[in-house]
């Protein structure tokens, strides 16, 4: 019987030739991640163990990105816990303001994510790294604390679901639309406890960044992880950032899937997920909802490709007078690159603003909170009640091209309307 990529990576990390869905395993972890919200609890729990070292100084990443640059005294105290802990134990991968970025954009960019790795992170969007052929999944702070001490964690081997995207993408359609389409099809618990494997010709055509966007939102379908086979593009991305060895796994021809769904990519339009669940998808073309704010950024769509697409739509245009546009490059390197390419000029001339890297408004933290009744188009990943501010505000999820076009028109729209 064949195995899926997910099963192969899990087997390799618990010293077995094979694992089956449903097996409970204890696996070695290659990287453990925490941020300024989740790591403080993990640090407290770790310190209560009374041991004087972490399992590996180079396999822990502490990334203060949510409420940074520190939005208030309490946030500053939380970040200080990460900073002090990193100094005390000698954690290598701690990044502070000026070097930090949104965690799931930063770690791949730094070459810390490679095919075949097993990664856990105390952040639900840790599933992002599956785009590079790694098994990665979100856990809580206690799991993070235990893994920092032991270098191990437990898993139930998930069943896999396969999503095959054939054909080519239509203009303005991106990885964001493919994953929104998927979530719209199967629902926010359609992949509960399962691995989501993405494949097909449209996936092969997709950039690494588009795949990162897709894997990022596997959790929004309840998935344990999202995964792609690392192809030439993924390997090139990794090799240009890291000299470390890695293992590329492919699913066997006889691998078992709990379900296989096939989609014609060309039939997928730019989509918008309406409040208050990512599964409430509708074509952007049919929307027309009046908006107050647009946010382009986050671990989902704050990478250089996303900023280029947004700038392409905004070039020579002005943001609608009733709309506030906030652009947030996800990392310092993306920020620098966007500046070098002249993208900031486009955003500023359109009368949008460019923020320092932060998760900020995506989770209603800071830097763009919504008032009662306000509506926001965001390239982020969640549109839950109160997600970006007031419990009676609304978030509409979309790709960067739709977000930029909507900023110009003052209502949710397909970018075609500006041509």
């Amino acid at each position: 019987m064949g195995m899926t990529i997910t099963e192969k990576i899990l087997a390799a990390h618990c010293g077995r030739d094979r694992v089956e869905p449903g097996d409970l395993i204890e696996a070695a972890v290659d990287l453990v991640l925490g941020n300024d919200i989740t790591a403080p609890i993990a640090i407290k729990e770790f310190e209560e163990l009374g041991i004087d070292r972490v399992f590996d100084l180079e396999k822990i990443a502490l990334i203060p990105d949510h409420f940074t640059p520190n939005k208030d005294i309490k946030s500053a105290e939380q970040v200080k816990m990460l900073r002090d802990f990193s100094k005390k134990y000698g954690i290598v991968h701690f990044y502070d303001v000026g070097r930090v970025g949104v965690e799931h954009a930063l770690l791949p960019e730094l070459g810390l994510v490679r095919p075949g790795m097993l990664i856990i992170g105390a952040d639900s969007h840790t599933c992002t790294y599956g785009a590079l052929g790694a098994f990665s999944t979100g856990v809580g702070s206690t799991d993070m604390a235990a893994a920092m001490a032991t270098g191990r964690t437990w898993f139930k081997v998930p069943e896999s679901m396969k999503f095959v995207f054939s054909g080519k993408l239509a203009p303005y359609v991106s990885g964001k639309d493919l994953i929104l389409h998927t979530i719209g099809d199967i629902g926010v618990d359609g992949a509960l406890y399962r691995a989501m494997e993405f494949t097909g010709t449209a996936i092969a055509d997709l950039s690494v960044e588009g795949r990162l966007t897709m894997a990022n939102m596997a959790i929004e379908a309840g998935g344990k992880n999202g995964i792609f086979m690392a192809d030439g593009k993924a390997e090139e991305y990794v090799k240009s950032r890291s000299d470390c060895a890695y293992t590329v796994h492919a699913s066997d021809a006889g691998a078992r899937y709990a379900e296989v769904r096939e989609y014609d990519a060309f039939g997928i339009e730019p989509l918008v997920a309406y409040p208050h669940l990512p599964e409430n998808t509708k074509p952007a073309r049919e929307s027309g909802v009046k908006i107050d704010q647009v946010v382009i950024g986050s671990c989902t769509n704050g990478r250089i490709e996303d900023l280029r697409v947004a700038a392409g739509v905004l070039r020579g245009r002005k943001v609608h007078r009733d709309v506030r546009l906030i652009v947030i490059p996800a990392t310092q390197a993306i920020y620098a690159q966007a500046m070098k390419e002249g993208l900031f000029e486009v955003f500023l001339e359109a009368e949008g603003i460019v923020s320092a890297p932060t998760c900020g408004p995506c989770l209603g933290g800071h830097m763009g909170i919504l008032a009662e009744g306000e509506k926001c188009v965001a390239t982020t990943n969640r549109n839950f009640v109160g997600r970006m501010g007031h419990p009676k505000s609304e978030v509409y999820l979309a790709n960067p091209a739709v977000a930029a076009a909507s900023a110009v028109l003052g209502r949710i729209a397909h970018p075609d309307e500006l041509r």
């Binding site: 409970l24 609890i41 729990e45 799991d143 032991t150 509960l192 309840g222």
Partner: protein, 164 residues
């Protein structure tokens, strides 16, 4: 262990932003978090509940963020248990790890009314709706998780392993 309290009903896909909104996550103090439990699902929730009360919800309870603050807030609010049709994966894991009792039962989740008095016997895996006089069987935990629960959560298990 037997738990007893009044049921507070919620729908499907209750997410962690509703359980504990991110605007309160600049602290990890359980007592502070408890004040805002379920605030964006029901702003008056904390004014209405009594110690030992039980949350009863539909499918996919606790979806969204990995924030352990969600089960921590529920536990610190002195709610005794969450019964749901199903739980989102990370919330499930976090609850087991920190020792918040959670019970899966589709029938109990569907048939319980707001304010019904519920008794949960965790060892037997039984849910008794005292008001309606009806008993339900909960979906049992796998042995690995029963062991984790018996050891008092993940960190206690790690502590005992590190001592070996």
């Amino acid at each position: 262990m037997k738990l007893k309290g009044k049921a507070w009903k919620f729908g499907d896909d209750v997410n962690t932003d509703e359980i504990i909104p991110a605007r309160y996550l600049n602290t990890s103090d359980p007592a502070e978090l408890a004040k805002h439990t379920m605030e964006d699902a029901d702003p008056d929730f904390m004014k209405k509940i009594s110690t030992g009360d039980i949350i009863v919800a539909g499918k996919n309870f606790g979806c969204g963020s990995s924030r352990e603050h969600a089960p921590i807030a529920i536990k610190a609010a002195k709610l005794s248990c969450v019964i749901a049709d199903s739980f989102a994966r990370i919330f499930y894991r976090n609850s087991i790890n920190i020792g918040l009792p959670i019970v899966e039962s589709r029938e109990a989740a569907r048939e319980t009314g707001e304010g019904d008095v519920i008794e949960v016997d965790l060892e037997k895996g039984e849910i008794l709706n005292v008001t309606k006089g009806k008993t339900y069987r909960a979906k049992p935990f796998p042995p690995f998780m029963q062991d984790l629960i018996a050891k008092g959560g993940l960190m206690n298990k790690v502590k005992s392993e590190l001592r070996k």
